[in-house]
């Protein structure tokens, strides 16, 4: 009995230690974003301060952080919707239709996931110059392969879901009713797999939101900077204005933390299901 208690104490102690290690950086952002730069360099701050508003005003003096926020939001929302919709459509094509070369074509989908993104960056930039995608946020709204992010796993994941979850007889019944193939997808298949689409959309949104190298090579117009680009420039702009810089970091991670607070269950279930296949 005592031995069991000891084991439990060790286990929970270890798990809590890892929780602290995980959360300390987040806590330090909160603490330092609410203290003045003078307080940050002259004293040890362990509790949040009351300098948030001043830090925010300083931050807004030089950089409009919300412009980056809006650009990131625009790019990520469009990329997510487009990838989610077409990902489901392609998955449906692979899951429920028979056609020549299907196995090979699906292999191409899988193989495309293995291409390291960094290898296409230079080529993408060259292509972007030719067709006017440099300094154009549209470059990041294409389905599946935007510079710096891919969403090919959406197809793989949803194909499994449609194969298992959408029965052939349901589709046949719809055909009997005179429903066209494209209508079947929009009216029957898509609603059926909505939870899976939503899960993949969360991942695609987060990946697109966090994309740094893509905008870094494609965007030089300051008005079109996305959040990660602004963040990477903050240090050169604010120099010793630590409070404002911590606040910038805080704002950049806030959106994802809020999304995670509400969707962590879907995110982890999605990861788990993806791995089981």
């Amino acid at each position: 009995m005592i031995k069991k208690g000891m084991i439990n104490a060790v286990i929970y102690g270890f798990l809590l230690l890892l929780v602290i290690i995980t959360l300390v950086p987040f806590y330090l952002v909160t603490v330092n974003a609410t203290h003045s730069s003078f307080e940050i360099v002259t004293q040890l701050n362990l509790l949040p301060g009351n300098y948030l508003v001043e830090n925010y005003e300083k931050l807004q003096q030089y950089v409009n952080i919300w412009s980056g926020f809006f650009n990131s939001l625009l790019v990520s929302v469009v990329f997510t919707l487009v990838s989610g919709y077409f990902g489901a459509l392609v998955a449906f094509g692979f899951a429920k239709y028979e056609f020549k070369g299907k196995a090979f074509l699906f292999f191409v989908v899988l193989a495309s996931m293995m291409i390291p993104g960094q290898v296409s960056i230079i080529g993408f930039y060259r292509l972007g110059l030719k067709i006017g995608l440099v300094n154009n946020l549209i470059a990041f709204m294409f389905p599946f392969f935007a510079p710096g992010v891919t969403s090919v796993s959406t197809i793989f994941f949803l194909r499994g879901m449609i194969s298992q979850g959408v029965s052939g007889s349901l589709l046949e019944a719809a055909r009997m009713e005179g429903c066209a193939e494209f209508g079947i997808f929009n009216k029957i298949v898509l609603p059926c797999i909505m939870p899976g689409v939503a899960t993949m959309c969360i991942f695609n949104f987060v990946n697109s939101w966090n994309n740094y190298i893509g905008p870094l090579i494609m965007i030089t117009d300051t008005k079109k900077y996305t959040m990660p680009i602004l963040i990477s420039l903050v240090k050169g702009i604010y120099l010793t204005n630590y409070g404002a810089m911590y606040l910038a970091v805080g704002i950049s991670i806030l959106a994802v933390v809020v999304v995670y607070l509400f969707c962590s269950k879907y995110i982890i279930d999605g990861l788990t299901m993806g791995a089981e296949k």
């Binding site: 299907k102 191409v108 290898v119 060259r126 740094y212 990861l271």
Partner: protein, 300 residues
């Protein structure tokens, strides 16, 4: 009649998968082939490209900085990957063998750093450690640590290991979730049988769980190699894109970015990309073979 309707429908199959292939050819394949062709050219971003044959690759093979960046990337990856997989194995063992209260909450918390913008994480750790008056130095001085304050970012070994630590911090929760997913696919009867045979928890884990989750481990390792060898965001924003001190955290991706977009040697930058592509391919094949071979020896 029936055959015709199937043929009819196969058209829709092609039609529905078309969006992927349009996107793949123009945005996936074409840029890669473009990179390959650019690696045989000289291009400064303005003047037209000129064909230079294998000159870029000759330069690459004698470029000490390229090999240094390769070694940096590999070292940062290994030092973050080994503790990552060990933590994941340990945590998944705890979570699946003991009924831990709040297991899902623990797991959700551990995964959180993986979702945060890596560029922000790099800047954050720069702010926390950089300078005599940094937050970490203030903490160390309050604890009266010997030698504090430290000039952390003047120490190549420390900076490299800090990068590995950040990568570990960002990825151990993710790896744990994948290992646990692998464990849940194992037939429960095997565990019951082991228990009846009197096997202890540790023994069951070593003899049954570990061998059976090998495919998951292989998957995690290969995706981790592909991601880890392309490491860019954290070391870049942590060192203002320089990879300093002593180029200790200059990764291959940072080097190719600097060669292309800072020095405007796009052809050479493309050659570095091709070099990285080859290295990642070789490492993936080697680790796949190594782990498959090991599986053959241990297999029953």
């Amino acid at each position: 009649m029936k055959k015709k309707s199937i043929n009819d429908r196969s058209r829709y199959g092609y039609l529905f998968i078309l969006p992927f292939f349009i996107s793949f050819v123009f945005l996936g394949l074409y840029p890669v082939l473009f990179t390959f062709s650019l690696s045989l050219q000289k291009w400064d971003g303005l003047a037209p490209e000129s064909f230079v044959g294998l000159a870029n690759f000759k330069r690459l093979l004698s470029d000490k900085i390229f090999f240094l960046s390769l070694w940096n990337t590999l070292r940062i990856w290994i030092i973050s990957y080994i503790p990552q997989i060990l933590a994941a194995l340990l945590l998944s063992a705890i979570f699946t063998m003991y009924s831990v209260k709040g297991m899902k909450a623990f797991r959700a918390i551990y995964y959180l750093p993986n979702l945060i913008t890596a560029a922000s994480v790099g800047l954050l750790f720069n702010l926390l450690f950089n300078g005599n008056k940094s937050v970490v130095n203030n903490i160390l001085q309050a604890l009266q640590a010997e030698g504090a304050p430290f000039d952390f970012f003047n120490d190549p070994v420390f900076t490299s290991n800090l990068t590995s630590y950040i990568q570990w911090w960002m990825w151990f929760g993710y790896t744990t979730i994948l290992v646990m997913a692998g464990i849940t696919t194992i037939d429960r009867n095997l565990f019951d049988a082991a228990q009846i045979d009197g096997a202890g928890k540790g023994q069951t884990y070593r003899r049954i769980t570990l061998p059976l989750i090998k495919p998951t481990i292989v998957y995690i390792t290969i995706t981790s190699i592909i991601g880890g060898m392309q490491l860019f965001d954290v070391p870049s924003t942590m060192s203002d894109g320089t990879g300093e001190p002593d180029k200790a955290i200059l990764t291959v991706s940072m080097y190719l970015y600097n060669q292309g977009f800072k020095n405007h040697n796009y052809g050479y930058s493309a050659a570095i990309s091709v070099g990285l592509f080859v290295v990642i391919g070789l490492m993936s094949i080697l680790s796949l073979k190594a782990m498959k071979g090991k599986g053959g020896n241990n297999g029953d």
